[in-house]
Chain length 372, copies 4
């Protein structure tokens, strides 16, 4: 079950970095939606290695094949299985890892949990697993378009180490973000961020940073009380991405420095619609969207694979040293942008169907506006 | 489903702040564990209102009754139902809220989602709901004691607004934390924190802060790859608590300022056991415990209920004003400490049973040590 | 999890026959439905002991209390908790069972599974557990009324031992069935069935039989392909009732004696609606309703508790004898009628919400008619 | 979710009869089990078309590929994805079905549910979907072998129309069943059954029948109280197979003709083990295995595809006629035998892991014996 996510739009990913491939099965997708491999490929291309000079040079075209659930260009309502073959696998690059645990990787913990692991590449812990998520999200996007048109989901690099972008979450566009290989929404920071990443790469070192994301145009009413609050499900979704160390929504950690009088978001009416003057809530109150932009940030640690020698232990319990090999991203942030968008899309899609199941999608209470 | 949590040790909470009561049903609890109402009451007493001068004066004794699943002092393996009646409910204090939405509360979003709400108190969004969680965690604690003795779970107030406690997560004890009503582990900060909370209370204002928590003595191997990573489930559990705005594990957001060479945790052997020299991973790698302390922080916003007048709207769509009434915590942090511990206990208990189901609980791989 | 049923309209029952009570928590109920305790009590009264001279004389009023999820007569969308206290418990009647396993009861298997059991009455295996199911179904009924009005669910005693009722499933009414204490739809068989049951009771013996049930007015499209076929979920629901040994739908076991040419149900058009001339399919094809009546039968074994002495073993592994005591039904069929109706209602309600989640409830394909 | 089964050993199948292929993803499989494609292929070969003169001549080799979750011949604990390509698809044979509903097939109900369907072959409703189940069961078999060795699961053709086999469920062997193409355990009936099937095939007609199955050597304690009783999960599993109309366990429908005194199974001790003298319970009491053979029967209707002309309607609502085409089984029973075994294996495997999760697998209560 650990590889499944969602209750109504449910995805199950599978695959290791070296092996037959990577894939996903989507169950619960509404029927009659237009879907083709091109819809999915577009998103996979944003995620794949080798796309620019600041990401891993592993050569994977990551071509997807839809195996089921689509007929004559439309979803059938039955499970949609998507397959991406592994191509440029180089297990020989990992032979030393068969017996030595890479620091801050999952090698030791997988052995501790299962008693064995696929040591060729990251196995199941590889970021290649996120192919299935990104593919599934491309399908979820179709559901949003059909059932709640106007929801816009964007993520961008907010910081790389101590370089801070300045981006207006209400105005930034997909084009802004895709216009540069680091995927920040702040043109002024692009060159500095690229330079910093290249410097780390050339030193065999690595960098972390934060991604900020927004979902604009969500109708009020998405998310559930108690455990499945929208921010709880977003937090889980983000913290399930490789290399994440933190999540915050709205005012986040900084909000703890304010008093209640400073922090509360006053309501007001605007064109018959309930709005808030500020958005420290981050678009959710009591776990449920209030119609304001859903706004959050995710922390990614510096890539664990570095090219210098590090102290570690072997699988037979001896102290030893290990130097990184293989092809890796010196900074995962640029490729993590589509992953954050994908996870957001999946969470919103699931909650949209949950809302339809229990309450229906028509607006419920005066003066709740129609989704726009 | 939104009121259920866990896959193997599964809890379902129910109840509104005003109504027949609050409760929880626990399904999947191992049989033969010693359990009585006193075990649960102890934890409820740490959570309940009226326990000190810096929390809400609502007078709820919160006496629990075990309705099922226990026989002659032992768990039966069947569902354990626990009931706490509401006593000191004062719905009249909320009459104005029937038609006015409290800023940064869930009044508007519940109406938007469901088309109606119980406006007497917070309804389902009230922090009284956490009674069920705390009660369930007292049962989960018995499971940990039986199946993985030695796991120690502690939380404490780390910051109140800009007051920062200094606590050693490896050494702090339950007695340290319980020795003061603000539940910080730093004796030097107790008086300042209490004074700040009282000041806010007297001004009709409110405060937020952060809680830090540690789980010491977890065996390696708990947590799942991909979606149900231990940190993902912890993040969800914490972000499902009322008033939370952020979660971070290990190095967290601050870790993004380090390079990989600075951030990685080198492995070494200690008495036949795999250890790490630093713990920026926060005790989890690839979503799975590595045997080091699991260490994380949670941000709580300042309480939304304040006693000054705020701009808001009415349920029929008119701009208006509202002044807080009712009895509320000027700062939720002291009472949130047992809630954070409870959610941690529930997550670990569920993952322990998941591990037993799939892999068994015996240590798996050399040189994995026995849990200590 | 074993005490939960349903994916979208999810119920969790709890309670033993002797202890604090019996109850259920319903999660996922649509908001805004009219609901009061009287709606539930009506159905509980059809299920409760002591209602007639041919059922167990245990004196339980089975008064229900709605503890949460309802406000001012309407469902809130939050979990609905319902409690029924145990009153006329006589644990002393069961003392011998503390150490002797009753034949064809669950005493031995509970010990084998859990290592202990509540030996006072049937514990968790008691038919009192079905109180929670019947109460939940009264709520589910409200969902059907709101979202798919016109669905009519009826069950009746079809056979008692070798006494066979003749009932037209298309015409039988609730009044027909409730007009007699044995709850058969065939007036001609009432006296014989009652006499046979009384005879068994007077001999300290017991009887079994079959219940037939129909759901009329189901819209086409309910049920899911593959594992959650409507007939699969109905089979599970029925086989989860105490004392059931068999389930068949439509032509059932008798249908295996026909050839395909004899068995197939030809389609034809009737007033713009797709109909079948025969209904050997039992209203489902490929796991999905086709708009014809859903028709099935359930086998109940003779009650395991009899008043004669039987060979058995003790919990310390010695051969011994045991004579039934306590108050029991000589034939469970009359009281099982509302249980079969309840389980049918729960299954249909869950599938209705599943259909709404994935496909919406509007008719999908020409010439699919509107639900009538 | 409708394509997923199991809670701890969870499978998700996907695929249509015509399209990219058929497959399954298994989540929750214990690590370290020996597994190769040959293990799976053996079972798929028992299920595949074209294996004998009495089954459909469709030429599918059904070669499986393990895409993930296995490394160097051992299960990893991560999801196991298995793919079987469709080869001998002839969509042109189905063109007429694009607009005409085949009687007693799922064409109409899929249109009613989803508004569209893949009309090439049975689409998702095709029995090809069971490839995923059979493949998953081959993996589940490895789990049983590792955690509860000695469980033996066998199914055989019990009746074809009115031809009744006589088989001793305690003694029949896999070799007995596989020795004949009809897969009955009664050598005396083989020729008659084959002749009857050939006769139906030559007439363009079809036949149904019943399959009987036994699980010998199950330890006491498998199965859950209330909803997930072992017989309830078996009933669901069997009724989810295509063409099934009925399920009964132990005494089944015939047991309703007995009195309690006749029906009860007396306990006795045998070599320190609790046994029952008769087995009308079918190996389960209160939903939980008692250590006796689990014994049940499943009814399969005659194949819906026949070669004579039948009345039906078109998808635009006109009365019309349709004559069967395509390649089909005149009787599904011989190929359904491995499907029934597969579903039994999956259910037992899931319950074995559930038992390990909650209670551990060691025997619990005196005088519960070790599983043998």
């Amino acid at each position: 079950m650990s590889s499944s996510l969602g209750t109504h739009f449910r995805i199950a990913t599978w695959g290791e970095s070296h092996g037959g491939g990577i894939g996903v099965v989507i169950d619960g997708c509404p029927p009659g939606l237009p879907l083709g491999e091109a819809d999915i490929q577009t998103e996979l291309d944003r995620r794949r290695p080798g796309q620019s000079e600041i990401v891993t040079p592993r050569k994977e075209e990551d071509r997807c094949e839809i195996l089921s659930g689509v007929f004559e260009g439309q979803t059938l309502g039955s499970p949609i299985a998507i397959l991406v073959r592994n191509k440029d696998a180089r297990p020989s690059a990992y032979e030393e890892m068969a017996t030595k645990y890479r620091p801050s990787h999952a090698d030791f913990t997988y052995d501790a949990k299962y008693g064995l692991r696929n040591w060729q590449g990251g196995g199941r812990a590889s970021a290649r697993e996120t192919i299935g998520r990104v593919a599934a999200a491309a399908v979820a996007r179709k559901v949003l378009d059909a059932l709640s048109p106007g929801i816009e989901i964007l993520a961008w690099v907010n910081t790389i180490k101590d370089l801070q972008a300045r981006v207006d979450p209400l105005k930034v566009t997909a084009a802004d973000i895709e216009s540069n290989i680091v995927r920040t929404g702040d043109p002024a920071m692009v060159d500095d961020m690229i330079a910093l990443i290249k410097e780390a790469r050339d030193e065999g070192n690595s960098l972390g940073g934060t991604i900020e994301a927004v979902a604009r145009g969500c109708p009020p009413g998405l998310g559930e009380p108690v455990f499945d609050k929208l921010e709880a499900d977003l937090a889980k979704a983000m913290m399930s991405l490789p290399a994440t160390k933190g999540f915050e929504i709205g005012s986040g950690f900084a909000g703890t420095f304010l008093t209640g009088a400073e922090h509360n978001d006053p309501f007001y009416m605007e064109n018959g619609r309930v709005r808030t003057k500020s958005n420290r809530s981050g678009g959710v109150q009591g776990g449920i969207t209030n119609g304001e932009p859903v706004l959050f940030r995710v922390a990614f640690k510096p890539t664990a694979t570095i090219m210098s020698s590090q102290a570690t232990v072997s699988s037979d319990g001896e102290d030893t040293e290990l130097k990184g090999r293989g092809r890796h991203d010196p900074c995962v942030l640029p490729r993590a942008v589509p992953m954050v968008e994908a996870m957001t899309t999946l969470v919103l899609c699931d909650h949209l169907l949950r809302q339809r199941a229990q309450c229906g999608l028509e607006p419920h209470a005066p003066p709740v506006p129609a989704a726009t």
